[in-house]
């Protein structure tokens, strides 16, 4: 939900139709939007402390490793905890991490890339070498350093993941801007005497938005998985707290004997990732000013 509301903001004004209406016409994207919305709502409710399930996420029982049943919809884990409750609990962290990382990557990456691409010349060279340096640092190392500096916990993870994932977006935005800024419509805008600010946010950015959104949809799943890496090396979550990433990484060892422990967390990761991809595709079409222009001319 957040992404949908944030992303189209800069282009809201020149749109003849709301983005929502355009999304509605693309069934896969519309369905994906609903799924993401539902997961976000569940995550939000869980975060606000509503109990959505019969069991608490850390409530143990002597019913170890039970398969799915009426009592435990998705079975129980090695300590007899209800897997469904843990997945619901894990949703809040996984979704928060995915969306926040994408948001950080979007904000930092777009500003940095836009500045670099628009100004060009020496500033561009200097800024891009900065990105190269940031890129050359191993992600894991940077995340560990940040994790050590900020201590354990969710905030540390969010900042660490955000800080290693903006470089790709920055490069993408810069490339788009370099390509677009010599186009005729930008010259026209310049001739009208529009300010640099206006040119960047009203003309360049909307035209570059498609690829950015698509790139961001890939940031979400990779962030969800990176978090499990951090948790594994002890810088992420402290048990019994869990996320989809930790649930999946704990469960894969029992793949052959107790497949439900890996199946359900992966299923949710899979559905979420797929939904973000579909939504990304849909948004690209819905936001692309070129298709919009084409349609207007008909």
């Amino acid at each position: 939900m957040e992404i949908v509301e944030k992303a189209p903001m800069p282009v809201a004004a020149p749109l003849d139709q709301s983005v929502m209406a355009r999304i509605k016409r693309i069934p896969t994207a519309y369905l994906a939007l609903w799924i993401i919305g539902a997961i976000c709502v569940v995550a939000l409710l869980s975060f606000m402390g509503c109990s959505l399930c019969q069991y608490s996420f850390d409530q143990t029982s002597s019913d170890f490793l039970a398969g799915p049943s009426a009592e435990h919809w998705m079975g129980t884990d090695e300590l007899g905890r209800d897997l469904f409750s843990r997945i619901v609990y894990g949703a809040r962290l996984s979704i928060a991490i995915g969306l926040t990382t994408a948001a950080v990557a979007f904000i930092i990456g777009t500003l940095y890339g836009a500045l670099s691409g628009y100004l060009g010349g020496k500033v561009d060279t200097l800024m891009m070498r900065g990105v190269d340096i940031a890129y050359s640092l191993p992600d894991l190392l940077v995340m560990i350093l940040i994790g050590v500096l900020l201590g354990r916990g969710t905030v540390g993870i969010l900042i660490a993941l955000g800080l290693v994932s903006w470089m790709g977006t920055a490069r993408l935005v810069r490339a788009q801007f370099l390509q677009l800024k010599n186009e005729e419509f930008i010259e026209a805008a310049r001739a009208q005497g529009q300010s640099g600010w206006n040119i960047v946010f009203k003309h360049l950015l909307p035209n570059a938005l498609g690829p950015i959104i698509v790139a961001l949809t890939f940031t979400v799943p990779s962030a969800i998985l990176s978090e499990s890496t951090l948790s594994f090396i002890g810088l992420g979550l402290s048990p019994p707290a869990c996320s989809w990433g930790t649930l999946a990484s704990d469960g894969w060892r029992s793949l052959r004997a107790h497949p439900h422990l890996i199946f359900f967390p992966s299923l949710f990761i899979f559905i979420t990732v797929l939904s973000f991809n579909f939504l990304g595709d849909g948004l690209r079409d819905a936001l692309d000013p070129r298709t919009r222009l084409g349609k207007n001319s008909h």
Partner: protein
């Protein structure tokens, strides 16, 4: 009004996605069915044993090695003065006999005269003298040097207080007589002569080849097998040593593979690519599937897991709180979640060792634990600071600490924060500045309570609890020198009660087990509670008798 391009794009994107899903499914199915197909025609090779080491041994120099992987290899390549029988008593090996003189202060070993190194030279008492002095030499920096600290002047020499090795109580009288003088009687001393670190060593080989002396082309050993091939990070090959003085092993070749991933190793076993696997080669669910198979066996180990307190950190400076924690943990949970036949522990000395008593420690009693906590000023756990519990990041360990955390919360209202670290980082942290609680384990080096009890004496380098008590140290010191078995057991029992019931710097949780699977065509693998694996009596063949014996 829809643009046609849109539709086409959608269809192709959707088809592409479906294609990806389909590919992923195919991959998954093929991985899952790997174990079912491609069985080689011959299921084994007569006289060849294939096992999994799990990892590359860090080094085969038995003075600097500290890990079980290295010892697993060395125990099959070398023999010492004595060797363990299956009942864990010491039987003659290089030494055909020995005398204990001066009330247990002097040992004289008489060596066999038919001992040969793999290069044909005789094994002499001088090889033992050289080896023991090298172990104690501070330059060697052997972590296991403390093993021989009972020898006269050994501690002084090893810690640098004494520069010369001449005054050490270690002496080769002649080629076949080796004499050791101890600073005080030590009832367990004979066990030390069966352990890897006390094995003989060839001075010329070590000095000639330096760090590379353990490579197959230079390595000289005296045991039932010799190292013939070492393909690093892949495989080691051990061939039967034809010049071994005892019975030459029937198995001609042992292939030791280094497969780190347990599920891979287990699939290899199921595919008849390995003949013998143990704990390091399967996940618990795999064991469960084979629980009723004749190929599966489970052995108790002398390896105790425990929860330790740093008694200098709040709130565990108060013995009542430590005791409350000990009484609030229901140890019967551990075998139920780990499912490898673990035994709950209430005493630090494990069953089967002298001094063991099930009543040495506290029993599970949540009501009494809550009362103790209230007495300490924290009724219902209110006001207790959130304590940190450090553990190394292994899956089975995580389960045990999560269960502990859950129990303490439920039974005492105590909040625990779990912190995990990579194994080596964990060891360094615990050594330098241990957090309020940490989870640790200790495997016996020899079958005697001393190996467990010495751990919590003031001077022991592995005592990370910061707890010490002169009365405890005195009890251990007395037990070490006591030669009357019953009196000695009683001294250890008193110390155990002090450790587990009175001062409670640790809470023993459970004793680990070794789980093994052996193919029906293999017999004679000797596993003992010290987790040393000897392959010298192994037979790999498909005889009827062999089959029957296994069943």
């Amino acid at each position: 009004m829809r643009i046609i391009g849109d539709d086409r794009y959608l269809i192709s994107a959707f088809a592409k996605r479906l294609g990806h899903c389909f590919l992923a499914m195919l991959l998954l199915i093929s991985v899952l069915s790997l174990s079912a197909c491609s069985r080689p025609r011959s299921r084994f090779e007569t006289g060849v044993l294939r096992v999994n080491l799990g990892t590359e041994p860090p080094g085969l120099d038995w003075h600097t090695a500290t890990d079980s992987t290295s010892f697993d290899v060395v125990s099959n390549l070398m023999v010492g003065l004595t060797q363990y029988t299956n009942k864990l008593t010491c039987a003659p090996s290089c030494a055909k006999s020995w005398e204990i003189l001066d009330g247990g202060r002097r040992y004289v070993f008489h060596l066999r005269d038919d001992l040969r190194w793999t290069d044909g030279k005789p094994v002499t008492a001088y090889d033992f003298e050289y080896a023991w002095k090298r172990l104690l030499n501070p330059v060697t920096a052997a972590q296991y040097a403390f093993f021989l600290y009972d020898v006269v002047n050994a501690r002084e020499y090893n810690t640098g207080k004494l520069k010369s090795a001449d005054t050490l109580g270690i002496k080769a009288v002649d080629d076949h007589t080796f004499e050791v003088r101890l600073r005080k009687p030590a009832a367990y001393f004979i066990y030390l002569t069966a352990f890897c670190v006390s094995f003989p060593m060839r001075k010329d080989v070590v000095e000639n080849w330096g760090d590379r002396w353990t490579e197959p082309e230079h390595f000289v050993t005296n045991g039932p097998f010799k190292l013939t091939k070492w393909q690093h990070e892949y495989k080691m090959e051990l061939a039967a040593n034809e010049s071994y003085f005892d019975r030459v092993p029937q198995v001609k070749l042992i292939k030791m593979f280094m497969v780190p991933e347990a599920s891979t190793a287990f699939a290899l076993y199921e595919n008849d690519e390995l003949d013998f696997i143990d704990n390091r080669s399967f996940a618990t669910p795999d064991v469960e599937r084979y629980r009723n198979s004749p190929e599966y066996k489970n052995f108790p180990l002398l390896r105790a897991n425990y929860l330790a307190f740093n008694v200098t950190k709040k709130p565990f400076t108060d013995v009542r709180i430590r005791k409350a924690v000990a009484m609030a943990i229901d140890r019967s949970i551990f075998p139920r979640i780990l499912r490898r036949g673990e035994r709950p522990a209430t005493s630090w000395i494990p069953p089967a060792l002298p001094g063991y008593s099930p009543d040495s420690g506290t029993k599970f009693d949540p009501a009494a634990a809550r009362a103790l906590l209230a007495e300490a000023g924290y009724p219902g756990g209110k006001g207790l600071p959130k304590a940190e519990l450090l553990y190394p990041n292994r899956d089975d360990v995580r389960l045990t600490v999560e269960a502990t955390q859950d129990q303490l919360k439920r039974n005492l209202g105590m909040e625990i924060e779990l912190v995990n670290q990579e194994w080596k980082v964990y060891l360094a942290t615990v050594r330098k500045d241990a957090p309020p609680m940490f989870r640790n384990s200790w495997g016996a080096d020899f079958p005697d309570p001393e190996t467990f009890m010495n751990l919590f004496t003031k001077d022991c380098g592995n005592n990370d609890t910061k707890w010490s008590d002169p009365r405890y140290d005195a009890l251990i010191e007395a037990a070490q020198g006591e030669l009357n078995a019953a009196k000695r057991a009683d001294l250890y029992r008193q110390a155990d009660v002090m450790l587990c019931r009175e001062a409670v710097p640790i809470v023993p949780t459970f004793l680990a087990t070794q789980n093994i699977m052996i193919k029906p065509w293999v017999t004679g693998i000797a596993i003992n509670p010290l987790d040393l694996q000897f392959f010298k009596d192994v037979v790999v063949s498909d005889t009827e008798a062999n089959q029957r014996e296994i069943r």
